[in-house]
Subunit: 219 residues, 2 copies
């Protein structure tokens, strides 16, 4: 029996997929850059076959684009793409949160509060990676509480699509402060069962992120 949460990927393609995600989020693979299969396969210590299968998954999620006989390229987002992704997130997440508020268990609420605290603590220590991870946990506790796994999966893909750019937002101390305030406001609204209020705050929350990233991309 494996008591730990750890579980090594049972296949090379899954391991490579995780590595590719890391490389994209961390900026090792930059938007627009071609993914050279031979080089990456060697770097990961696998052949090109599992690498290509992992790339196909990312292609399906829109994180890379594929051009036959030319290869895979890390997806680039312009401002229009960004606004589109956030519009879709608004539509899907708002619905999820509305449903979630009436379904939240005491455990969910505890986990939500704990995640908000984790965000604050990571912020205090200056660990931006941990902060992003905790932030993601916070939001997905709400979204998954709606009990709609397919919706949650789509939202996850939309988050991933902008991962490469989200770090720009967290880099600013001001933004990190407003993240703190907004998270706790969401917890308060959810705790009192006010779904509409939670939706409004979360919408502002996203809007702030869009504005910040738009400034960077457009300027």
């Amino acid at each position: 029996m494996n008591e730990t949460g750890f579980r090594r990927p049972p296949t090379a393609q899954e391991a490579v997929l995780a590595e590719l995600r890391r490389a994209i989020v961390s900026g090792q693979l930059k938007p627009g850059e071609q993914v050279l299969q031979d080089a990456l396969a060697e770097q990961f210590g696998v052949s090109r076959v599992p690498l290509r299968e992992a790339l196909k998954i990312l292609e399906g999620e829109g994180q890379v684009v594929y051009r036959p006989h030319r290869g895979y390229f890390v997806a680039e987002l312009d401002v229009a793409d960004l606004r589109e992704v956030y519009l879709m997130r608004d539509l899907l997440e708002s619905e999820a949160v509305r449903l979630a508020v009436s379904l939240l268990t005491a455990d969910d609420l505890r986990a939500l509060t704990a995640a908000a605290t984790d965000v604050d603590e990571a912020d205090a220590v200056g660990d931006l990676v941990a902060m992003a991870a905790a932030n993601r946990r916070f939001h997905f506790i709400l979204i998954e509480a709606a009990g709609m796994p397919r919706l949650a999966r789509l939202v996850r893909i939309l988050w991933d699509a902008t991962d490469a750019y989200r770090s720009l937002y967290y880099a600013e101390p001001d933004h990190r402060a407003s993240v703190h305030d907004e998270h706790h406001a969401v917890v308060a609204a959810v705790r009192s069962g006010d779904a509409d209020q939670a939706v409004v705050i979360l919408r502002q929350h996203r809007e702030h992120a869009v504005e910040a990233v738009t400034r960077v991309l457009g300027g």
Copy 2:
């Protein structure tokens, strides 16, 4: 220069992907069934490599599920999944249509009307496959007119997810009749610029499909 709209797939994986989609829609591959790679590869006259890459695309779209070392299985939808997919379609398509109505060109409107006519004609001839294709064209003219390619892509994936079950709806003559009425009501609403009205009709349109398929699945 290639004047025809034809373009043979430049790679085997794309050809196989198209064949797999056909097989799923037509019911040759039934929900829950395992996709035996050796058999299918031989049937398509290719090796397993391009087949596996095509399957990875379908996995990303949720049309097949993958279990490591066990293989790929055609996705099964229960009633909850169906409702979830249609809820997401409602959220995304309603927004797209609202935007589209104010952006529609005269050409779009002509194409929309033509597609509605095509649906009617296919219905009259009893060609259900052509009817489904024309129906799809009709709806995506509207959705794509919103000028949001990513949203259109997601909606397309959601449509594909229920393709295996949609044929159940078209099998009923009564349903085909209401499709006719609803399409023309949508055209009228769109033509007069009444986005809200179009959204309402389209929502009923979807609701009818959900009810019909739910009856089949649940009974």
